[in-house]
Each structure stands twice: as structure tokens, then as C-alpha cells.
Amino acid sequence: MARVFDSVLDESGKSPRLIGGRSRTSGAIVFPLPEGSEADLFDRILLRPDGKLWSFTIQRFPPKHPPYLGVTDPARFSPFAVGYVELENEVIVESRLLIDDFAELHIGMPMTLTTTTIETEEGARSIRTFAFEPV
């Protein structure tokens, strides 16, 4: 049983969509949708699932726990790609990137939304979250 971040991901349709917010005053689009009292200032919207890679890097060392829930043991850790994906006329979203060959990543690369499971330390629940992959 994987833990899912359902406050950011809408999976009610055929394909997953990110949940963003549109400011009721300026019309600006933000991600994620603000929670708490700030939520009153935004309308919930589903962001477009396709975009272009805006920048990226490879996470070559394990992030620390807390807050990271994935594998932190250097012997078991696998590097992963992260980047910003520009959703045209909406917002630029930071996300994990799924790609077999890191060398293929380049700015401007067309990307589409998917989900991914992050392996955790043994005995812990895996976590499922949003990610972008090349079209």
C-alpha cells in the first residue's frame, strides 16, 4: 500500500492532473493549491499535463531524513532527476523527472505528467507522487 499525496494530484480522470490554484484577484496560477485560510483566495484548477523542461539537475547524493522519505542509505540510493517543467501560460512546476538516460535531458524537452513510486527504507511504506517524463 503506497502513500499518495492526494492534495496535489487528481486521479479521477483517465490520466493524472496536478491541482493548482488561480488567484481570485490577479488571475495568477500557483502550485500547489494553497491550504488553510489562504485557500479562500484561490479557485481550484487542474493544470495542463504537458509542458517543456525549463531546467533540471540530477540528485546524486541521498537527501537527509527528515524530511526525505526515500532511501537514504548511500549503498542503496539511486540518483534521480529533478527539474522545472513550464506549463505554457500557467506555471512552472518543480517535479521529479523519469528518464532512463540522464544524458538525454535538455532544456525545452517536451514532457508529460505521470506518477512514480519512491522506494523507501526497508519496512516503510512506499510513497507515490507526481513526476514528468519525456513525451
Binding site: 499525496f5 526515500g70 512546476v93
Partner: protein, 347 residues
């Protein structure tokens, strides 16, 4: 205090900061419980710059004429580890491995390199210069020169930045005495003056650390605003500066900060660095003590280390790393979640 010929009871106020080594005012029992005003400052990596600015304005207000700004820190090994809740961010952002300062630095320089034709070799040259300067600096932490080839070939941390292109959090401390001009004259120490000082927070559309999303309408960095304000206050321009200490949390930051602080146009860094213009014998020496790359990044202390180095350069007592005829010295420190503090000193 010894350098100024002062004792602690004469100090009227202090501003101090530390991010990971406890409250700065924990020093008070050691310094003496004189009742002096002591305010703790916390502003991310710009804590030191913010402490100085607080002290500057305290004196400018006319309320005080002699004070201390102090900063120190000691960090655990490895990358800084921020928790989302402390910055008003959702937990999943950290839980899924995106809340790392190193990722931000890598992605900011990646985009900048593509937009303005900066090569990976230039990233290595910045670090090579830092360690060359650090080897001449008694307060530096890394004091061994490292050549550009070794830097480029060292372990990749966050592409395109390798291990030797990043500063290490480390530990350290700095204390500075500041005084009104009148008081400094009475002390016979009115030789270095604060000509301009400004701190600015991020405007709309700037690309900052710890951002789950960015606006598609892009804006300038807070450093641009702080730099412009400090230059205006000092009545001088970038072309007048003799040495500059620019926040170099990694090689890319120094390159981008050269342009954000007005010292060159975007993209000119490639040629300037290749030609050695930012070395100690260049036209604009940058990070003369090796910066954060050689001195580490104890958050509370770093911004004040830059000021210390500029004072040493202005006094002409920097020995092996002394730049000739320094009259105007510039410093800039950047911190999460998007703020920048600039100080221009002159003699």
C-alpha cells in the same frame, strides 16, 4: 575588541546571528552581563549581512554610537537540511526529495549557462581561483590549491556542479565593532566607512531556492535590487569598485552574482574569468579570501566574513592576498528564501 582597544562594557548594543549553533546572545554570560541591548538576527544565509545592516541603522538612528555585530555557526556534515514547515511549504516537498539548496543552485546555473553561453570549464575556473586565494588566507578552511581539471573531474553532486564547486557548511565566527563617524574619529579608527548598505527581499518572478513552482512571468533577483540601492546610497557605480566579495555558495552563484550586482553583462563572465580578470591580479578581484568555497559557509558568520575581508583589504594588511590600492570594497550575501544584502565600504 583588542583590535579596537575596547572592553565589552563600552559596547552599547549588539546584533548577532547563528542558524545552527544556538542563539547568538548565549554569548552574553561569557562577554559580561552589562545589560547591553542584544538582538538575535535570523535571515537564512544572509544573517550576517542582516546583522550588519541592523547595526548600521541602529547607529544611523542616533540612538547609539558604538556597537558590535557578531555571527557564528557550526553545521552538521553535508548539505543543509531544511524542513518544509519552517518555510511555509507542504511536507511532501521535502518528503519526495526536492527541498535541497544544492538542487536550486544547479538548476539556476544550468539555465543561465544555456541562456548566456557559460561553459562547464568556467565553473571549474571559479573554484580553482577560490582555492588559490584560500591558500593565501589564514582564516580559510580549505587552504590547498586545487587545479581546474581535478575540480571538474571530482564527484558530481548536482549536475553540472561537482564536489569542489560547492562550499561546505563548516564552522566559523566573526565579530565586528561598528561606530558612528564621530565616535570612530575619537577612537582614531575612522579609516573604513560604510558608504552604502541595503537588503532586499525577492520581487515577483525571481527564481529562488525552495520554490515548488515559479511564475511564467519572470522577474529580477533580489540581489539586483539590493545592489542598485547600495550603489545609489554610496553614490558610486560598479566600475568604481576595487574588490568584491560575492556570495559563492557554489561556482555558479559567483558567476551569476557578477551580473546581478552590475559588474558585467550576462554572458561576459565567460571571457572575464577565462582572462583572469577576477583573480587577485585581475581588474576586479572577486572573493579575495577564497569566499565560501575556501572559507566554508557557517551561515551566521559568512556575510560578516566578507566585511572582515574587505576591511583587511582596505587597511592594506591582507599580506599575500593584498590587492593594490583598494579604496572601495563591495560585498553581497544571498540567503533563503530569497533575500540579498549588499554593503559598500570605502576609505
Amino acid at each position: 575588541m583588542e583590535d579596537c582597544g575596547l572592553t565589552w562594557p563600552e559596547i552599547q548594543f549588539a546584533f548577532g546571528g547563528s542558524a545552527a549553533a544556538g542563539d547568538a546572545d548565549a554569548m552574553l554570560p561569557r562577554l559580561g552581563l552589562t545589560g547591553a541591548q542584544f538582538i538575535n538576527v535570523a535571515n537564512g544565509c544572509a544573517t550576517g549581512g542582516s546583522a550588519l545592516l541592523s547595526g548600521y541603522w541602529a547607529i544611523q538612528s542616533g540612538e547609539f554610537d558604538l556597537g558590535m555585530v557578531v555571527g557564528f555557526d557550526k553545521h552538521p556534515r553535508g548539505a543543509f537540511n531544511a524542513l518544509p514547515g519552517e518555510l511555509g511549504l507542504p511536507d511532501w516537498y521535502g518528503e519526495t526529495g526536492m527541498m535541497l539548496t544544492t538542487q536550486f543552485f544547479a538548476m539556476k546555473i544550468r539555465r543561465y549557462m544555456q541562456a548566456f553561453d557559460i561553459s562547464e570549464k568556467t565553473l571549474a575556473l571559479v573554484a580553482e581561483k577560490a582555492f588559490a586565494n584560500g591558500a593565501r588566507t589564514d582564516h580559510a578552511w580549505r587552504r590547498e590549491p586545487v587545479d581546474a581539471e581535478t575540480i571538474a573531474a571530482s564527484r558530481m553532486i548536482n549536475d553540472p556542479l561537482t564536489k569542489f564547486m560547492f562550499c561546505s557548511p563548516a564552522e566559523g565566527g566573526v565579530a565586528l565593532v561598528i561606530a558612528s563617524e564621530k565616535r570612530a574619529r575619537q577612537m582614531g579608527r575612522a579609516n573604513v566607512k560604510i558608504l552604502g548598505a541595503a537588503m532586499r527581499t525577492r520581487p515577483e518572478g525571481s527564481f529562488e531556492v525552495f520554490a515548488p513552482s515559479l511564475s511564467t512571468t519572470r522577474g529580477v533577483a533580489p540581489t539586483v535590487l539590493a545592489s542598485q540601492a547600495a550603489f545609489e546610497m554610496a553614490g558610486v557605480g560598479p566600475e568604481d569598485i576595487d574588490v568584491a566579495q560575492l556570495q559563492d555558495t557554489e561556482s555558479g552563484a559567483e558567476i551569476m552574482h557578477m551580473a546581478e550586482n552590475g559588474f558585467c553583462k550576462d554572458g561576459d563572465q565567460e571571457r572575464m574569468i577565462r582572462d583572469g580578470q577576477t583573480r587577485l591580479d585581475g581588474t576586479l578581484p572577486i572573493n579575495t579570501d577564497g569566499g565560501c568555497l575556501a572559507c566554508g559557509e557557517p551561515i551566521g558568520a559568512s556575510g560578516l566574513r566578507q566585511i572582515y575581508e574587505n576591511v583587511v583589504q582596505l587597511r592594506g594588511i591582507a599580506e599575500d592576498r593584498q590587492v593594490a590600492n583598494v579604496r572601495l570594497a563591495y560585498s553581497q550575501v544571498y540567503g533563503a528564501p530569497g533575500l540579498s544584502a549588499v554593503c559598500i565600504l570605502g576609505r
